[in-house]
Amino acid sequence: MRGLINYFSGMFNGIISLLKGMGVTGKYFFTSPVTIVTQQYPENRKTLEMFDAFKGEVTMPHDENNEHKCTACSICQINCPNGSIEIVSRDVVNDEGKKRKELDKHLYNIGMCSFCGLCIKTCPSNALAWGQEFEHSMFTRDKFVKTLNNEGSKLMQKKGVE
């Protein structure tokens, strides 16, 4: 007799517990969602905004005169754990006869980048910054190597103290 009672009470409690769970799903079925969690991604491409801190890719900001801040010191190349940065520089002799390096190409291989941010953090002249671009897929691997400095860009001259 006790076994029979246990059998039915177990069944009854089981159904109650299932109904409780169904209550949660039912509530969401009948009340429209307040916020949509998922992104309607390909459709909202034009309005999609990432957070400011978002680590999309490493970029080198240029000003309106096509000038950047990179002094070709190679500190980002040394600090990169994966070897995804290669700096090609040339030696230039200025008017006073001093030799110094000038940036030729800042090669950045995004296929090897692990987005740790050490290059940007350690750059002494703040020449690098995070970009917001995140659609990185390419058809061939060699397109992952990007030249960060623009064609014909120059080093930004430091403004003298007035």
Binding site: S17, K20, G21, V24, F54, P81, S114, F115, C116
Partner: protein
């Protein structure tokens, strides 16, 4: 015919579960020996996602190691980084600012909640409750947004660095976290309604995968899995680091040692994590977010060990330094590897379907096992 049936009932049958099985959550290969449906032995075979992180660390500076420890247990990336950073800081004898300690502790607890949420998702999914998967991910999304706003990464953040943080938190950080605590307090009741009291889930987990306290200690099963067996192993409580010494929280313990106990420990831990964050979030002191460090960190010669409580158990970092800028040797004590070693004891004599429930309750992350 009768002979064949008898043969099948008596013979041992060897079967591979994984490396591409949905319930192994990654590339873990379990070689099962079965008699009928009963599991006689489980032999985990590791190495499918071995990347040699410990060896790679020997050619990296201490700042660069951070981006690799992110990729061990990717669900508690912040907590792993915390261990490496603290090991380096204690070796150098640096006192880090209070602000850093507060932020690190809050971030650790947020990571723990997010990790347990994803575990809850996959736990439900492994037992056939797909709805749980969506609800868990829905509540995990705001945490990832909080991470992304302040750190720039959603899953892999690389936010801590020896001496402090990579950058300061976003001005909205406190407000967002406080909103989230209120939001999640409401939603966690739904979790209990949906899955904790569910009769199917209860019958599939209660009394399944028993592990006694002695076995848990001898296998080194730590974290929620160990505490489900009554093993007091919370590093936050017994060896406080960060701000854990100054906040009040309970160490969740259960004595049953079955899959359901491990489930309930994690559910209660999420509530405790909310309590910890609530005590800290209003009091973040102003100050620097990092200590001025030398560009090249050289640890003094010696051996250093630091342990933290990751989402799945005790995570330890052992650094042996010869006074160079690279570590001579790094050994990482990952919680999942020890937890996995107890799988045979738990699953022995159970049915093959219970093995899925046991695996789900252990919550293993394969890249942490293989390193």
């Amino acid at each position: 015919m009768a002979e064949i049936i008898q043969d099948i009932q008596e013979q041992e049958y060897i079967i591979n579960m994984g490396p591409q099985h949905p319930s192994t959550h990654g590339v873990l290969r379990l070689v099962l020996s079965l008699r009928g449906e009963t599991v006689l032995s489980v032999q985990p075979h590791c190495g499918y996602i071995h990347r040699g992180i410990e060896k790679m660390c020997e050619r990296l500076t201490y700042q660069q190691i951070i981006h690799l420890t992110d990729r061990l247990d990717y669900l508690s990336a912040h907590i792993n980084n915390h261990a490496v950073c603290m090991a380096v800081e204690t070796a150098l004898g640096i006192e880090i600012p209070e602000r850093v300690k507060y932020i690190r502790t809050i971030m650790d607890e947020l990571a723990r909640i997010a990790s347990h949420q994803l575990w809850w998702c996959s736990f439900g999914m492994d037992l056939g409750a797909l709805t749980a998967f969506f609800y868990g991910l829905r509540d995990r999304e705001p945490i990832l947004d909080i991470f992304e706003e302040s750190t720039g990464g959603r899953l892999i953040q690389s936010y801590y660095t020896p001496g402090g943080l990579m950058k300061d938190i976003h001005p909205d950080f406190q407000k967002r976290v406080k909103d989230y605590i209120i939001y999640f307090r409401k939603k966690i009741g739904e979790y209990d309604q949906l899955l904790s009291g569910n009769v199917i889930m209860n019958q599939r987990t209660q009394g399944i995968g028993k592990l006694t306290k002695e076995e848990a200690i001898s296998f080194g099963v730590t974290g929620p899995s160990g505490r489900g067996s009554g093993f007091e192993c919370d590093v936050r409580k017994h060896r406080p680091y960060g701000m854990y010494g100054k906040v009040e929280f309970k160490e969740i313990l259960r004595s049953e040692g079955d899959a359901f106990a491990r489930y309930m420990v994690r559910m209660d831990e999420m509530r405790e994590s909310l309590n910890i964050i609530e005590q800290l979030i209003d009091n973040i002191p102003a100050g620097d977010f990092t200590v001025k460090m030398k560009p090249v960190i050289k640890l003094p010669e010696g051996e250093y060990y630091q342990r933290v409580e990751a989402a799945r158990g005790e995570f330890g970092v052992f650094i042996s330094s010869k006074g160079e800028k690279y570590p001579y040797r790094i050994k990482l004590r990952s919680p999942n590897f020890s937890n996995l070693s107890a799988l045979h004891t738990m699953a022995n004599g159970q049915k093959i379907a219970d093995l899925v429930a046991i695996g789900a309750s252990l919550d293993y992350v394969i890249p942490d096992i293989d390193r």
